[in-house]
């Protein structure tokens, strides 16, 4: 009786491969929405409590191991940091004078600088899929007011990326270095488009398409006031090498400030600020974070 049974391994294999290809096509075409989005959301909800529990156990242990490994380096690092602090304090004193001048000039020119308080939700990184995917999951989602598109920064205020998807109790964050959508940024007085080099952890490419001027290695790249996706002036990275325009365009590498793989806590910004967007007068907004620990933001 058993011998008459047909081997259905190959048909099963072909069927599953066909289903996988169909799912991929649907997901890419629907851009994460529709039925595929519901399936994704369901899987995340299912795994989120297990991940949170695992992170609760693993994180203290990982911290202990990391601290133990770092102990030897701490003394020399402390001395170096003290020296750096002294330099920065001197530099800060010089900046105070410039800020006072800027304040006076703004008053003289009647430039109103409205500083919006951007609500911030702090969240723990609870999961990463595998070594090929830089996206990660955090333990706060819709219930904390986090929605798809919200910018994400690290504890130092450096730009990490944006929320790709948000559900109850979780959100998936796609770092800028792995994002297919470019960010509008400023380097010096030039506005350009910054996109990730997929397959790397911290490399980005800056393109300035019109009236480009040379840039120098070490120049800071920050989000532009022309960006719809991110608040202005968020530090993103620094130019890796001196570069001159070819024709009117400039292309140069940028190293991201944030090491995405080592992130444990991130801040999600409630952006865009709807109040600022509906204001009658043009508004210049500068991020000034107000951290919430959960609930609404």
């Amino acid at each position: 009786m058993r011998e008459n049974r047909r081997d259905i391994t190959l048909p099963t294999f072909i069927t599953l491969i066909a289903i996988a290809l169909m799912l991929m096509t649907l997901d890419v075409r629907a851009q994460g929405g529709g039925v595929i989005g519901t399936v994704r959301s369901g899987a995340n909800r299912l795994i989120e409590p297990i991940e949170t529990a695992a992170a609760f156990v693993v994180n203290p242990l990982a911290d202990f191991v990391e601290n133990l490994a770092d102990l030897a380096e701490l003394r020399s690092e402390n001395e170096a940091l003290r020296a750096e602090l002294a330099d920065l304090q001197a530099e800060q004193a010089a900046f105070q004078d410039k800020l006072a001048r800027l304040d006076q000039l703004e008053k003289a020119m009647r430039l109103e600088l409205n500083i919006a308080d951007i609500a911030v939700t702090a969240a723990n990184v609870i999961g990463r899929t595998d070594s090929l995917d830089l996206a990660f999951r955090i333990d706060k989602g819709e219930e904390s007011g986090i929605v798809a598109g919200n910018p994400v920064v690290d504890a130092n205020g450096y730009l990490v990326g944006r929320v790709l998807e948000s559900g109850n109790g979780y959100a998936i964050v796609i770092p800028l270095v792995a994002d297919v959508e470019a960010a509008t940024v400023t380097v010096g007085d030039q506005v350009g488009s910054l996109s990730g080099v997929i397959g790397t952890d911290d490399r980005l490419v800056l393109d300035v398409f019109d009236q480009a001027t040379p840039v120098l290695a070490g120049q800071q790249v920050v989000t532009s006031a022309q960006s719809f996706a991110y608040p202005p002036s968020l530090p993103v990275g620094e130019v890796t090498e001196d570069a001159v325009p070819v024709g009117r365009a400039l292309t140069v590498g940028v190293r991201a400030f944030v090491d995405v793989r080592s992130l444990r806590v991130v801040l999600v910004l409630a952006w865009p600020d709807t109040d600022a967007a509906t204001a009658d007068t043009p508004v210049v907004t500068t991020p000034q974070f107000t951290t919430t620990t959960g609930g609404g933001s």
Partner: protein
């Protein structure tokens, strides 16, 4: 007996996914972690009948896809292909734990390469990325190591239905 085996497979996979996404999210070798779920999927092909093993591989990959930012179906496809290759070559695992670990390492390399190629075709991964090459090489090596550590454990736990001897 079948229910017990199915339950064991489900628990093993959920544990593997939880460990991979949380524990290996923190403990990495040069920012690269082993693909534990892929190792477990390959080991499951030694325990289940061919068709259920393929379905389990597909569902495991699909679950990981749902947790990632990549298109749903990418890992499902790669894991199913790896499971099929494992089913066709599973006699290699009979030569002993070291041979079984090497076999898992080779299958992992096949899986990662497939993931990169299909991912690139669907615009999810860029196979020209410099650090990608390092990952394609290191992940199978880490998988081989994990498998080498896991196999004796499984040998102790499992019934004598199939052993790596």
């Amino acid at each position: 007996m079948k229910t017990k085996r199915a339950l064991t497979v489900v628990v093993a996979l959920i544990l593997a996914i939880a460990i991979q996404t949380s524990v290996f999210g923190r403990f990495r070798v040069g920012s690269i972690a082993p693909d534990l779920v892929l190792v477990v999927v390959i080991l499951i092909t030694l325990q289940l009948a061919p068709s259920p093993a393929l379905v389990v591989a597909f569902l495991s990959g699909a679950t990981l896809d749902a947790l990632s930012s990549d298109a749903l179906g990418l890992r499902a496809l790669a894991y199913t292909a790896v499971a099929y290759a494992a089913l066709r070559t599973r006699d290699r695992a009979d030569a002993g734990p070291v041979a079984a670990a090497v076999w898992i390492g080779v299958l992992s390399l096949f899986g990662i390469l497939l993931l990169v190629v299909v991912g690139t075709l669907f615009g999810q991964i860029d196979m020209t990325g410099s650090q990608l090459v390092r990952r394609v090489v290191v992940v199978p090596l880490l998988n081989l190591t994990v498998a080498f550590l896991l196999i004796p454990l499984i040998e102790r736990v499992q019934r004598p239905a199939r052993r790596f001897v």
